[in-house]
C-alpha cells in the first residue's frame, strides 16, 4: 500500500516552531551565555510568524485546520512569546534560574497552543492542550529554590490534571454519542439525529465547559489562578495570563461554535451565569488584594469574564470581538507585568502594592507607563482597553444582551477602584522605600512595544478590528 504523506503545508508554522524548540534545546548544551538563546528563540518565532501567512488549509483528514481564526490566535501567541521572552531575559538572571530550558519550554508551550488553535478534532485538541499544560506546569515551578513557585506548580499540576480528566470524560461521552471526534462530523451528527436536548450531550458540554473554564480561569474554576499567578515567576505569570487563556478561548470558540452549534441555546444559558460570576469574583475580590501579582490575577479573571461575553453572543461578530479583546489584553497585561518586573531588583521583591508609593517621584517614566496600563485595563477611552470593551459591548448588545452589558459595565466601574488605587499610590503618596529599578534593554523594548500598541490601538483601532473581522470571515 502506498504511503502517501498528507499535505503538510498548513502545518509548516508548527513544524518550524518544533524545530526551533529542539534547536534551542541543543544549543543550550553548547553555550554559556543563555541570552543568546533568547535572541534565537525570538528570531525563530519571527520567522514562524512569516511562514504563518502562506499556511491556510486543512490537513490530516481535517483534524488540523489552519484558517483565519487559528492564524489570528497564533499571532496572539507569537506576540505573547516575544514579549514574555523580552521581559524574562534579565528577570530569570535576577531570580538565579538562568537555564536554557526556560526558553525551549516556552516554545513547546506555544506549539501546544498553536495546535489547540488549529485543532479540528477533539483528540488533536486534547494533545495540544496537554502539551501546553505540561510545559506550563514546569514553567510555573521554574524557580526551584522558592517554595512559592513549587507550590504554584503543584497546585497548577493537580488541578490541571483534574480538569483534563474532566475534558477526557467529556470527549469520551461525545465520542460515545456521535461515534466521531471530528468537530464538523459531530455537528452534522447532532443536527441529523436531533440530539438537541439529549441529556448526555448536555453532560458532555458541561464537562467540556468545566475543562475550558479551568483553562481560561472562569469563575467557579478560577481558584487556581491567584495562587499560581502569585507563586510563578513574574515573566511566566505574564506568559500564562495571556497564552493559555487565549488558547482556552480559541478552543472554546471553535468547539462550541462548530461542534455544538445546534445546542447553542443551552451552552449560552450555561455561559451567562459563568460570565457574570467571573466578572463578579474577578473585580470584587481584587478590591482587597495587597499583592500586585495577585491583584492582576483577579483582574485577568475579570477580563476573562468580559471576553466570555464575546462567546455568549454566539455569532461571528462576537468571536471577532473576543479575539480583538484578547489581542489588546495581551499587550496591556504584559505591559503591566513588565513594569512589575522592573521593580524586581536584587534585594527587593516589589510584589506588594505599597512598594509603588511615590513611584512617580522616584521614577516618573515607570509611573507614567504604569498609569497608562492601569487606565487601559480599566477601559478609559484613549487607551486600547476601551476599544476592546467597546467592541465586545457592541456585539453583545447587538445580540440582545443589553442587560448583561449593563452588569459588565458596572463591574468595570468597580474595577476602576483597584486600578486607580495603584495610580493613587504612585502619584499621591510620598515614597517610603527607595526603589532601584532594574532596567534592561529588552524590558525597555518590551515596554515601548506594549505602550505604543496600547495607545495606537486606543486611537486608531481600525487595523486590528479589521484584522479580527477578516480572520473570522472564513470561520
Amino acid at each position: 500500500m502506498n504511503f502517501q504523506l498528507p499535505n503538510l503545508s498548513p502545518m509548516v508554522p508548527e513544524l518550524t516552531m518544533t524545530a526551533l524548540a529542539l534547536i534551542v534545546l541543543l544549543i543550550d548544551l553548547l553555550i554559556k551565555k543563555k541570552e543568546i538563546l533568547a535572541l534565537i528563540s525570538m528570531a525563530g518565532v519571527a520567522i514562524v510568524a512569516v511562514t504563518l501567512l502562506g499556511s491556510s488549509g486543512v490537513t490530516f483528514g481535517n483534524m488540523f485546520i489552519s484558517d483565519g481564526y487559528s492564524s489570528f490566535f497564533k499571532l496572539i501567541f507569537f506576540i505573547n512569546v516575544i514579549l514574555s521572552v523580552l521581559i524574562s531575559i534579565k528577570y530569570i538572571a535576577i531570580e538565579r534560574v538562568n537555564y536554557g530550558e526556560y526558553y525551549s519550554l516556552i516554545l513547546f508551550s506555544t506549539i501546544g497552543m498553536m495546535i489547540m488553535a488549529s485543532a479540528g478534532d477533539l483528540i488533536v485538541l486534547y494533545l495540544g492542550l496537554e502539551l501546553m499544560a505540561l510545559s506550563t506546569y514546569i514553567l510555573a515551578g521554574f524557580i526551584r529554590h522558592d517554595v512559592k513557585s513549587n507550590e504554584a506548580a503543584l497546585k497548577y499540576f493537580l488541578l490541571g490534571a483534574f480538569s483534563s480528566a474532566f475534558l477526557l470524560y467529556g470527549i469520551s461521552i461525545v465520542y460515545g454519542l456521535t461515534g466521531t471526534t471530528d468537530l464538523k462530523a459531530i455537528a452534522s451528527f447532532i443536527s441529523e439525529k436531533g440530539l438537541a436536548n439529549n441529556f448526555s450531550l448536555l453532560l458532555s458540554v458541561i464537562f467540556l465547559t468545566v475543562a475550558f473554564g479551568f483553562k481560561i480561569a472562569a469563575a467557579p474554576f478560577h481558584m487556581w489562578a491567584p495562587d499560581v499567578y502569585e507563586g510563578a515567576p513574574t515573566s511566566i505569570t505574564a506568559f500564562m495570563s495571556v497564552g493559555p487563556k487565549a488558547a482556552g478561548f480559541a478552543v472554546l470558540g471553535r468547539v462550541f461554535m462548530v461542534a455544538f452549534v445546534s445546542v447553542k441555546v443551552d451552552w449560552v444559558a450555561i455561559l451567562i451565569p459563568l460570565s457574570i460570576l467571573t466578572m463578579a469574583v474577578g473585580n470584587i475580590v481584587a478590591l482587597s488584594q495587597t499583592n500586585i501579582k495577585r491583584m492582576l490575577a483577579y483582574s485577568s479573571i475579570a477580563h476573562a469574564g468580559y471576553a466570555l461575553l464575546g462567546i455568549i453572543t454566539a455569532n461571528n461578530e462576537g468571536l471577532a470581538s473576543m479575539m480583538n479583546y484578547l489581542m489588546i489584553y495581551a499587550f496591556m497585561n504584559i505591559g503591566a507585568f513588565a513594569v512589575i518586573i522592573m521593580l524586581r531588583s536584587e534585594g527587593f521583591k516589589g510584589d506588594s502594592i505599597y512598594d509603588y508609593e511615590g513611584l512617580s517621584k522616584t521614577h516618573p517614566w515607570a509611573a507614567a507607563l504604569m498609569l497608562i496600563f492601569m487606565f487601559s485595563l480599566t477601559g478609559i477611552p484613549p487607551t486600547a482597553g476601551f476599544i476592546g470593551k467597546l467592541y465586545i459591548f457592541i456585539s453583545a448588545i447587538n445580540a440582545g444582551y443589553t442587560w448583561l452589558v449593563v452588569v459588565a459595565v458596572i463591574f468595570s466601574a468597580i474595577s476602576a477602584y483597584f486600578y486607580m488605587r495603584i495610580v493613587m499610590y504612585m502619584y499621591m503618596r510620598e515614597p517610603k522605600v527607595t526603589v532601584t529599578l532594574s532596567t534592561s534593554l529588552p524590558t525597555d523594548f518590551a515596554l515601548v512595544i506594549t505602550t505604543v500598541a496600547v495607545l495606537v490601538i486606543g486611537v486608531f483601532p481600525s487595523f486590528l478590528v479589521g484584522l479580527a473581522r477578516a480572520a473570522i470571515r472564513g470561520f
Binding site: 494533545l127 506546569y137 526551584r144 483534574f162 507563586g231
Partner: protein, 100 residues
C-alpha cells in the same frame, strides 16, 4: 457478550472513586494515583465505546491518554520532589503558603 452499559457503569464508578480519592487523600502520591485512576476510567470508557462502535478512534485516543498520563506522572513527581526538597512535606494540605 457483556452489554456496553456495564462497561459504562464500571467507568463511572472508577471515575467517581478517582475524584473522591483526589479530593480527600492527604498524601500527594495517593492523589497522583487517583488522577491516574480517573484517566484509566476514561480509557475503559473509550475502549468499550470503540469496540461497541466498531471504530478505531477510541482506542487511538486511549493510547494517547496513556502516553500523556505517563508524561504527566513524570512531571508530577518531579514537581513533588522539588517541593519536598524545599519543604519536607508530602501532604497536600500543608502546601498552603499562598491564600486569600
Amino acid at each position: 457478550m457483556v452489554p456496553l452499559s456495564w462497561y459504562m457503569m464500571l467507568s463511572i464508578a472508577v471515575f467517581v472513586i478517582g475524584v473522591f480519592g483526589f479530593l480527600s487523600r492527604r498524601n500527594i502520591i495517593i492523589v497522583f494515583m487517583s488522577i491516574e485512576l480517573m484517566l484509566n476510567a476514561v480509557n475503559i470508557n473509550l475502549i468499550s465505546l470503540s469496540h461497541y462502535l466498531q471504530d478505531m478512534r477510541g482506542q487511538i485516543l486511549a493510547f494517547f491518554v496513556i502516553a500523556v498520563a505517563a508524561a504527566e506522572a513524570a512531571i508530577g513527581l518531579a514537581i513533588v520532589i522539588a517541593l519536598f526538597r524545599n519543604k519536607a512535606t508530602a501532604h497536600v494540605d500543608e502546601v498552603k503558603e499562598m491564600q486569600g
